[in-house]
């Protein structure tokens, strides 16, 4: 019996050593949108290389959670793939906080097909009908007599979020759509299948897939910035007050054309300028 207890005690001691977590003292806390997460991640890594004394703690959770964190003061920066809502502004003001938005990048999603596909342009409503499974043959939208293979992204990705919002007007993509887990995988699947249609971030376009124009507007950094390309949106970082110190420094870094904005372009988003 005593032996048994001792064994358990030894086990417990070992477990507690293993379980002891590494504490992470963060000077800058960033929370929120998973769409902005790759941007924040990349820029934070580079920033911490330059300023090793600054520790950035980064987590996702969605735009809504980021805003919540701004309101209750548990984060320095909230990532958001949408603008702040009136209700959130009101809640923040009640707590004496004044959220400040900073646009850090644009998200531009381009529909793509196989290079052999004669279709050049689809309207938003045609895209929606295709992704709802209502249009199932390319001949219905001016292509050859081929079945349409619809390729979509996993529903929790930011790319899907844009698509759902701008193309599907919040309706669900039909269950028969193929689902790929990354921009790269969609690109790969479309480039290997002449029936396929997919959508990828602007940064992933190359010659092995054919980008479609949407309502005769081509998806480019310019058409994204002037707002004429419909499947795009600005991405924000919100601070709880006018930023100062490390937070201001970090935001300057991310908005700097030669620093943060360059990295943003590298990972497939549209830089601000």
């Amino acid at each position: 019996m005593i032996h048994q207890k001792r064994k358990i005690a030894i086990m417990a001691a070992i477990m507690s050593v293993i379980g002891a977590t590494i504490s992470f003292a963060g000077n800058i806390v960033i929370k929120g949108s998973t769409t902005v997460l790759p941007i924040a991640q990349k820029v934070s890594e580079e920033y911490m290389k330059l300023y090793p004394e600054v520790k950035i703690s980064l987590s996702g959770g969605g735009s809504g959670n980021g805003m919540k964190a701004i309101i209750d003061g548990s984060t320095d920066i909230a990532n958001s793939s949408r603008f702040i809502k009136d209700s959130e502004v009101k809640l923040a003001l009640e707590k004496g906080r004044y959220p400040v938005p900073f646009a850090v990048a644009y998200d531009c999603i381009v529909p793509v097909v196989h290079p052999s596909n004669p279709v050049k342009d689809l309207t938003l409503s045609q895209l929606k009908a295709i992704y709802k499974g209502e249009v199932t043959n390319w001949s219905q939208v001016g292509g050859g007599d081929l079945k349409i293979v619809v390729i979509s992204r996993d529903t929790s990705s930011g790319t899907y979020e844009v698509w759902e919002e701008k193309v599907m007007s919040k309706e669900n993509v039909y269950p028969g759509a193929l689902l790929q887990a990354s921009n790269g995988a969609v690109h790969q699947a479309v480039s290997k299948n002449k029936n396929a249609i997919g959508y990828i971030g602007l940064g992933y376009l190359d010659a092995s897939v054919k980008a479609l124009t949407v309502g005769n507007v081509q998806g480019t950094p310019e058409s994204t910035l002037d707002g004429s390309f419909p499947i795009s949106r600005p991405l924000y970082m919100f601070t709880e007050k006018w930023p100062a110190g490390d937070v201001a420094n970090f935001l300057n870094f991310i908005i700097h054309p030669e620093k943060g904005q360059k990295m943003i372009k590298e990972i497939g988003f549209v830089p601000l300028y």
């Binding site: 887990a181 790969q188 290997k192």
Partner: protein, 298 residues
């Protein structure tokens, strides 16, 4: 003095091995506990029946739908089709290696088959995506090569080494006296294999098959890459499907921590856990039931 030191050393070794043995068990227990702790809360929002038999998987829609029936069907059907490919190939290769092949050939072929097991699953998945999928599209005139059939072939690649190696060991360990007796009675070597060696090795072969299948049902990367990922009940073997592990892998990274989606993905993990757990229990049961305990029991 020396005696007590030896005794102490002995005791220390005992504790050491006890610790080592219990570490893996307690880690398993903790993982299981964690899995259930993170997965069960979803059933407060969605009934178990609606979760298992629900037809729509829209975890991020508003309102969200958490029905994993198409995913379960996807997993089960992919595993079954891969079994249809991998069992005959694996078992017959094992028979050839242990009963027919010359020992020199065996020395060459067996390591090659085992090498197949060491291929990383992402490589197999990539092969399926880049080579097999376009091939299926071009030669079978189907809409997409990323489908159940492709995934089943790739999974069969992965389970053949398991099935073959374990079956081969089982066949090899059938006592030579049994085979000799059969041959001495005038049976041909084909009759000996079918009527004597195979039945004697049945428990080992069944275990091999079950372990091979449980590898197939739990495999993630391959199905994520080549199964297509459509969350619907397939109408033909050339339809895309979305097996359970693929869903977890694709969505977990971006599911809000401790949100409904997160809980639902862990609940999928529980379902998978139950599947493989059942497989292992069946394997254990079979290996005990049909165990060849001695020359006389056949």
């Amino acid at each position: 003095m020396i005696h007590s030191f030896t005794k102490f050393k002995e005791k220390l070794m005992n504790y050491f091995f006890l610790l080592v043995a219990t570490t893996s068990i307690s880690i398993l227990a903790m993982i299981t506990l964690f899995l259930f702790k993170e997965g069960l809360p979803i059933f407060e929002k969605v009934g178990i029946k609606a979760f298992i038999f629900g037809n729509y998987w829209y975890p991020t829609a508003d309102p969200a739908h958490f029905g994993i029936f198409p995913l379960i069907i996807g997993s089960v059907s992919v595993t079954l089709i891969s079994a249809l490919i991998s069992i005959p190939l694996g078992v017959m290769t094992a028979i050839y290696l242990s009963e027919i092949a010359s020992s020199r050939l065996r020395e060459i072929v067996k390591p090659v088959v085992e090498l197949l097991a060491s291929l990383p699953s992402v490589v197999i998945g990539f092969f399926g995506m880049v080579i097999v999928a376009p091939f299926l599209q071009d030669h079978f005139n189907i809409a997409t090569g990323l489908n159940m059939f492709n995934a089943a072939i790739m999974l069969a690649f992965m389970s053949i080494p398991t099935i073959c190696t374990i079956s081969e060991d089982a066949l090899y360990s059938v006592p030579a006296s049994l085979k000799e007796a059969s041959l001495a009675l005038g049976a041909t070597s084909f009759e000996t294999i079918v009527k004597v060696t195979l039945p004697a090795a049945l428990s080992g072969i069944s275990t091999a098959i079950i372990l091979g299948l449980s590898r197939a049902i739990g495999e993630t990367m391959v199905v994520l890459m080549v199964a297509g990922g459509a969350a619907m009940v397939p109408g033909s073997i050339f339809d895309p499907v979305r097996p359970l592990p693929g869903s977890i892998a694709a969505e977990m990274a971006e599911a809000p921590y401790r949100g409904d989606h997160y809980y639902a993905l862990f609940a999928i993990g529980i379902v998978l856990f139950i599947f493989t757990f059942c497989f292992n229990i069946i394997a254990d049961y079979l290996s005990n039931k049909y165990r060849q305990t001695g020359d006389a029991t056949l």
